[in-house]
Amino acid sequence: MTMAPEAPLNPSTRWKEGDPISIPVPDGPIADRWDQHKFEMKLVNPANRRRYKIIVVGTGLAGASAAATLAEAGYHVSSFCYQDSPRRAHSIAAQGGINAAKNYKNDGDSVYRLFYDTVKGGDYRSRESNVYRLAQVSVNIIDQCVAQGVPFAREYGGLLDNRSFGGAQVSRTFYARGQTGQQLLLGAYQALSRQIGLGNVDMYPRHEMLDLVVIDGHARGVVVRNLVTGEVRSHVADAVVLASGGYGNVFYLSTNAKGCNTTATWRAHRRGAWFANPCFTQIHPTCIPVSGDHQSKLTLMSESLRNDGRVWVPKQSGDPRSPDTIPEDERDYFLERKYPSFGNLVPRDVASRNAKEVCDEGRGVGKTGRAVYLDFADAIKRLGLPVIKERYGNLFDMYQRITDENPYKVPMRVYPAIHYTMGGLWVDYNLMSNIPGLFVIGEANFSDQGANRLGASALMQGLADGYFILPYTLPNYLATEKLEPVTTEHPQFKVCESDVATRTEELLAKKGTKTVDEFHRQMGLMVWEYCGMARNDNGLHKLLDGLPAIRADFWENVNVPGDGASLNQSLEKAGRVSDFLEMAELLATDALHREESCGGHFREESQTPEGEALRDDDRFAYSAAWEWGGPNDTLEPVRTGPIPEPVLHKEPLEFEYVHLTQRSYK
Amino acid sequence: MTTTMTARPSLYTTTIGRKVLMAGSGAFILLWVTAHMLGNLKVWLNRPEFDSYAHFLRRMLSPPFPNTWVLWIIRILLIAAFAVHVYFAITLGLRSRAARVSRYEYTDHVQADPAALTMRWGGLTLAAFIIFHLMMFTWGWIHPGYSFDKADPYHNVVGAFGEWWMVVIYAVALFALAMHVYHGFWSVFQTLGLNNRRWDRVIRVWATGASVFIFLGFISIPIGVAAGAIS
């Protein structure tokens, strides 16, 4: 392989500018838009619903709740997940909680305030109408989940408890200890199970969607692989819903589950769906640091730890002393020093970036030097051990189990890690992508989170989409479109099946010298290095030049053992990594084009004199929806060279209600 | 509203219902065993007391019932209880075996106590012992070193434990009984749904007490005879 050129290519050749997006956005007072829109949408007669078949890919909060709700309404639903049971989707790992504008604490919360906080928290890169709707239905979610038996935390009086989360000034977060995601998902899973039992949902666990079938411009089905038998089969539908989660595993190490992947969304993108804002990824500042090359994933610890823990590193670079022997005046409590008013409670991105900075200066701690201390000694002195145990006992236990260190005695070591991706497939107000009939919900869409997600908002969005938005907007599509009946005999199904089979065969045929994980790790580290907590023009060009090299190497030297006719986990991984290798390039292109700092995207060239993120609303107050630059009629991988220049469609964002300001935490 | 919750099994077609039958029959047998032991302890008093107890068994509730009727009713109930207990032990046991046809290469347990793990083997041991015991003291087919006299149970007891190995057989069988009672006693509460975490320890203590009590009560007789305290 040849050395990739050092000098960046001409940036203008990295992408093409396409037509801006103008979609019908509901108007009128923001509080009435959703109600008005619901009234205007067409309905499907209950007697006809059974005739419509809807495919839902993914069974996390969004997918399970959507599949259950659509089936309850009478539609014939087929649901697919790669896990062995729909109950295992990665929503299950969410710890913190779910926001809702119930104002149970009587502290001045309201739908409007939740809306406002979410737009502002998203650094003004989301659609106002969508976010308002999200805040509106948040209250219904809590009602729905409680009715299903989700055991939310309660006060002694028997009413629901709330806490303040992620620096919010009101207590609007509902939680079930540190397992809110699990409990919400089990609620949705149970509702889905009921529909499976009734025969309204055909459930396909251990099935992976490998292609989207678009006929006459409409999404009409998917091609899936049975992960147990290897059988590749087509499924026809009147509408396809992708609820396949985020693409955080493009960084290899993330807090995502090992199986989380971009394959469903990326292959839909290859078939014509636009991918929006892929560079908006969120980094969580308090994860357990990497312990060695064998590290397979990262474990997040609730950010509530920063309420009492103090973040510090030694002042002296490369200080070898153990933390308890470093005197107070040789410690640098860098967050408290730089942000006196917010201290350790600065937002996730600020805390993360500063941790990276001190580690880059060589002041990081631990074996790898990529960690900072999170110290509870003062809190234990102030509040006593029992209080700390009560508040954080389970987190401390988890930390000790993984690291074999006692955080009551020695400070924790933490480091930021990727844990959520705000970008995703572009959708309109109806959650429909630019391909009619293809709906995208939950983390898989480019979401209402803008450039940055507030704590406890991911669960809210997933369930809002699945329970309360899609079940209204999808029928409107069915009622307005006159779809020709198709079967899996349609030539396009054959094309897709053959593309999937070809990809599988090619992956299996190489039997090269490097394992899939080696490529995944190599790519992930590179993306993390150049497009992680901070990005700059030079690094992004390096990344854009480096990725094709890894991809070429992959298609030349990958070793996928076994065959395609049985359960083959290496093959599954290889398919996913082959998509990440292309997707990463779009992510880097998006990051390169967005020459502003914004939410989770910190562009080093765009900062204030104090080194804080600087948004550029004049140039970048839009969502960037990327169209695949190559033809949509084939899934053939890009083996050598960069991906075909993607086409940028800008969706301008207008803010009628929320006042644009620069964030400041000084 | 449609639902999938349509199955309406009658209790005794479910495995749990069958366990309830085992618990009920086991509890009845345990009550009888306890009464049996208390009666046997009379052998420690003197021959007339013991004989009067044997006499009482035959004349229980007489009048109004004719002699031995009540004894027979109890015997029939007991046989029925044994039948139920053994039948479900076998069928449920076979079911569990069928649920794990391929076995582990390496077996270990976290906490399982021997009493819980040996319910089936212990039960088989007890079944064999009961037949042996009946052959000795009811039917009089086995009487090593003494002559069996149906009318003189005291004589039979004293004669039976003249041989040391007979004491050993009884000791082993009673140990098996104690183990079975220990786990069975606790299991009755668990199976009938009367257990919870607050009562669990208490029930465990009761179970230990009951099994120790029954073991010591019964074993005192062979040892008493062997030691010459009963003659």
């Binding site: 049971s85 006060e155 009086g157 986990q569 | 999938t4 749990i16 569990s96 649920a99 975490r197």
Partner: protein, 273 residues
């Protein structure tokens, strides 16, 4: 050749040889459910004690692939102890030697240098082996489909705080709802019984006021389904609860028994039900 350095490693730091162990794996290998399986011996040197058990298997698999071998198939996903995907018998214990710990959260520091470690799949007829350490646990889904839910179609819910739930009830429901459906209870039970799994859901939903309307129907349907699926019978041994990574207590089983007795009794009284 583009060399991408590990940016997470401190420059100049050498791989540590201390903190590693050498173990021998005795792993169950089975091509598919139809094939006969066998124990295969795999040598595993240089295993860092910081690794999780699954990371150890990752490393072993990477070496196997590199040497033309067949990697060990095992279920895993979240790797933080909550999804319930992973699970294997390690030296005869479900999820290995540590209590209240899933396999993914078990670390190699709990093994000794030179140790031989047996790794087997969950064994139960209702959990047929798919490949190596992967079994089909869809029987659990079927038990839930039979009644492990509260019927509350979207849109029908009343205001959440209209129904106060006493905190102890909510806490009890939560404790039972902790179940991750991993199957360790069935695997560890000498009878391969699913009582702990089924009872956890019955306790979760039956502890809440929302779950009362269907409480009788739920327990009857779920018990009938678990019986139908061929799980073994509970003999109150308690290995399930002791092996449960989420420590679901035995009292859930007592509670399910009680609920079933009550449900069948009430049904006799109200035969229309």
């Amino acid at each position: 050749m583009t060399v991408i350095e590990n940016p997470l490693a401190k420059p100049g730091s050498e791989p540590q040889s201390e903190g590693t162990i050498h173990i021998t794996l005795k792993v169950w290998r089975q091509g598919s459910g139809r094939d006969a399986g066998r124990i295969e011996t795999i040598d595993a040197p240089d295993i860092a004690t910081d690794m999780s058990f699954l990371e150890m298997l990752d490393v072993v698999n990477e070496r196997l692939i590199k040497t033309g071998g067949d990697p060990i198939a095992f279920d895993h996903d979240c790797r933080e102890g909550i999804c319930g995907s992973c699970g294997m018998m390690i030296n005869g214990r479900a999820h290995g030697p540590e209590q209240a710990t899933t396999t993914c959260q078990l670390h190699m520091r709990h093994f000794k240098d030179g140790e031989t470690v047996f790794v087997e799949p969950w064994r139960a007829e209702p959990f047929p082996v798919i490949r190596d350490l992967i079994v089909d646990r869809s029987a659990f889904d079927k038990i839930i489909q039979a009644g492990g839910y509260i019927t509350a179609p979207t849109g029908t819910a009343p205001e959440a705080n209209n129904l106060p739930v006493p905190k102890p009830d909510a806490d009890q429901a939560f404790e039972a709802a902790n179940c991750i459906g991993c199957g360790a209870c069935v695997a560890a039970c000498p009878n391969a019984s699913a009582m702990l799994f089924t009872s956890a859901k019955i306790t979760h939903l039956g502890s809440l006021p929302q779950g009362q309307a269907e409480r009788d129907a739920r327990v009857m349907s779920m018990v009938a389904k678990q019986d139908e699926l061929g799980f073994g019978t509970c003999t109150n041994i308690g290995e399930c609860s002791a092996s449960c990574p989420k420590e679901i207590p035995m009292e859930s089983i007592a509670r399910m028994n009680r609920d079933l007795l009550r449900a069948t009794r009430r049904r006799r009284r109200r035969p229309g039900q």
